[in-house]
Symmetry: C2
Subunit: 403 residues, 2 copies
């Protein structure tokens, strides 16, 4: 049985994701699709609009065979660590290929870029370091350094977030010498309209913006979302009273930052170079999250970088707890959220070959990262009343879901 791996957030699952998934299955010739998804918090340091279980359910019902979770400690990180967490998990489950979306749809530029980087590694790092010292953000400094070693405009455009992620996936596969074929599917442009089936591709960001600002799923948004997603989003909100967004967590951030000492804040992953003082000095000056972000962002600290740090403050994730993520070279465990019958067959086949634990329920004591996972769940659910909180957190301790 052949499997292809997809690295996803599905926040929420839309027609672009469906297209990517169907194309990947066809191109890879896989029998089984394994989507590894960020959990309740996303790579850009944001709470997912609905929780991981509901997003996994939509994926299974849309035809994905297995949904895994990227461990929180890897998910809310820069593209290289995010890729590492995702790719190593997929490798542990023995996928044959990983298929990601890119602007161009051709894998050679990614592989070539990796080769170039290996040849010019020293030069790249020197240039990167120089630009960081100038006060540039990591993505900016990195873009300059790539340009310096010839990975500029002629190669893949590493200014495009999706290309950056794709490049990180490719690098991880090649660096760790994994038995996985990197593949890419050309993304359908945002705004692409398929006249025959009357829906269009829009980015998840623009869809979220639309529904969060309007407070309901507009006709415009419905045009880009499969009915499964629309129903799941509406049902979620009917039960919980709201979707998740940073604004709802702002009071908690205010509380947390004003009651932690600068020393305590300094222990949180990502709080460095005096950010703790900047946070404490400004936290009561803003009326909402958006306003506050505009007060604290700088050339050096991008919006995304800051959001990730704030997520770690919310989840109380300390640098020393997750130091090992940069040196680890195999998956700490594989966390299974849900599967179809086909998925179940594939897992039965692979299970005996696996070198790391397969986590089907959040048992304690298996790995310290699972304690952080539980805190991420509790932070994410903090906005709900106790009964909903209890029901939702209990889900973590139950067997994986079925479609």
């Amino acid at each position: 049985m052949k499997a292809t791996g997809l690295i996803v957030e599905y926040n929420p699952f839309h027609y672009g994701h469906q297209y990517h998934f169907l194309q990947s299955k066809e191109a890879s010739g896989a029998d089984c699709t394994v989507a590894i998804m960020s959990g309740n918090f996303l790579q850009r340091g944001e709470p997912a609009i609905i929780d991981k279980w509901h997003r996994a359910q939509i994926a299974l019902q849309s035809g994905i065979d297995i949904v895994l979770e990227i461990p929180y400690v890897f998910a809310v990180q820069n593209s290289d660590l995010f890729a590492k967490g995702a790719v190593l998990s997929l490798d542990a489950l023995g996928v044959d290929s990983i298929c990601f979306g890119s602007e161009d749809g051709s894998i050679e530029p990614f592989v070539n870029a990796h080769n170039e980087l290996q040849v010019h590694e020293k030069e790249y790092h020197e240039s990167l370091h120089e630009h960081l010292k100038e006060g540039l953000s990591f993505p900016e400094a990195s873009r300059h350094a790539y340009h310096k070693i010839g990975l500029g405009d002629d190669a893949i455009d590493l200014g495009q977030p999706n290309n950056i992620l794709g490049f990180s996936y490719t690098k991880t596969i090649l660096d760790y010498n994994l038995n996985i074929k990197p593949m890419t599917i050309q993304r359908k442009q945002s705004g692409y309209h398929d006249e025959t089936i009357e829906h269009k591709i829009a980015s998840a960001t623009s869809i979220r913006k639309e529904i969060l600002s309007q407070g309901y799923i507009t006709e415009e948004a419905k045009g880009s979302l499969p009915p499964l997603t629309v129903d799941a989003l509406e049902q979620y909100r009917d039960v919980t009273g709201s979707w998740h967004e940073w604004e709802l967590y702002f009071p908690l951030l205010q509380y947390k930052i004003s009651t932690m000492s600068p020393e305590e804040l300094g222990q949180i992953h990502g709080v460095e170079e005096g950010l703790e003082h900047r946070f404490k000095q400004t936290i009561h000056k803003a009326n909402n999250f958006q306003e506050w972000m505009n007060l604290i962002k700088t050339k050096r600290y991008t919006w995304t970088r800051l959001q990730r740090t704030l997520t770690h403050i919310l989840t109380n994730t300390k640098t020393k707890e997750i130091e090992s993520i940069s040196t680890i070279n195999e998956a700490p465990y594989v966390r299974l959220l849900g599967m179809t019958n086909m998925g179940q067959q594939y897992i039965s086949q692979q299970k005996k070959e696996m070198d790391c634990p397969l986590i089907t329920q959040l048992h304690k004591g298996v790995h310290p990262f699972l304690t952080i996972e539980e805190r991420a769940v509790d932070s994410y659910l903090s906005m709900f009343k106790p009964t909903i909180k209890r029901e939702r957190r209990n889900r973590e301790f139950m067997p994986p879901i079925l479609p």
Copy 2:
């Protein structure tokens, strides 16, 4: 100019407090009354129904000349530490007497009890230790130990909370050999009805229970509250949307306890003997604060003791930050909340004699306890929207209030 000191919580200020204040002034022959009040959190480990500034304002408008604040680190403590924080501050401001309410109205039993305790100190401590080892709570063990050394039913009844506090005040004055005369006024019984002026004395606890459970100030409650208090309570609630009670902070406790490690919880003042595990195991089993308290209380840990610990969790107050409170033997500072003209004259007169700083605004760096004070303010205000939070916390950095 002679001053008498009152140790109060005014939560909220009622006719019983007015009676105590007028009687104290008369009995002591003082020109000036100094009330030292717990701040936003009270001795029993509860948020005050309205904030300290509004409570101070009512006191000044009711005729109190000076309102000081008991430092948080002393206020949310057992009766001996509470007394120490209050009495040493009053001493620093040079009061001639301290006048407290008691069931009996006579000071001799308190002074005699102190003498007895000095004579039988070893026996008392042995007995106390023995009963604590049996698993009794401190107040229970202490009551048994007093009984053992003859401070039983014939002497003052140390089972009565007000007598316990009065005894702690007396002990502090005598132990530190302060130049203060301890005095006591007989309390009017709860339910006491003064036919001529158509109001009655009720306990602050029963008044709070009435208005918090009903959600408004009932006619029953109005019968026990001066119009000043009724107006202040109503105005407060009109602006902020609610009065303060533990139930409103329960979501924060759930968040805090589930995202702190047992080791981190163990550093909080009062978390000992495995309470951290008990808290973590039960925090999601209850639907509200009341239910949760019933799950965690034991023979050893009284409701009050637990509430104080939970307040320290809310304010992130660690044992090592406040170790010095048991050995300190003078006021770290005197915090002034408000004063009348008479109060201002008294302070001008006393200021040059003072051995510790007089804090009129919450400046940082003067004393580490003031950082904790600021955290207590931010925790207390955490339930409000950012605009109200900002306005209310700014009050801390402004000059004292006038009537």
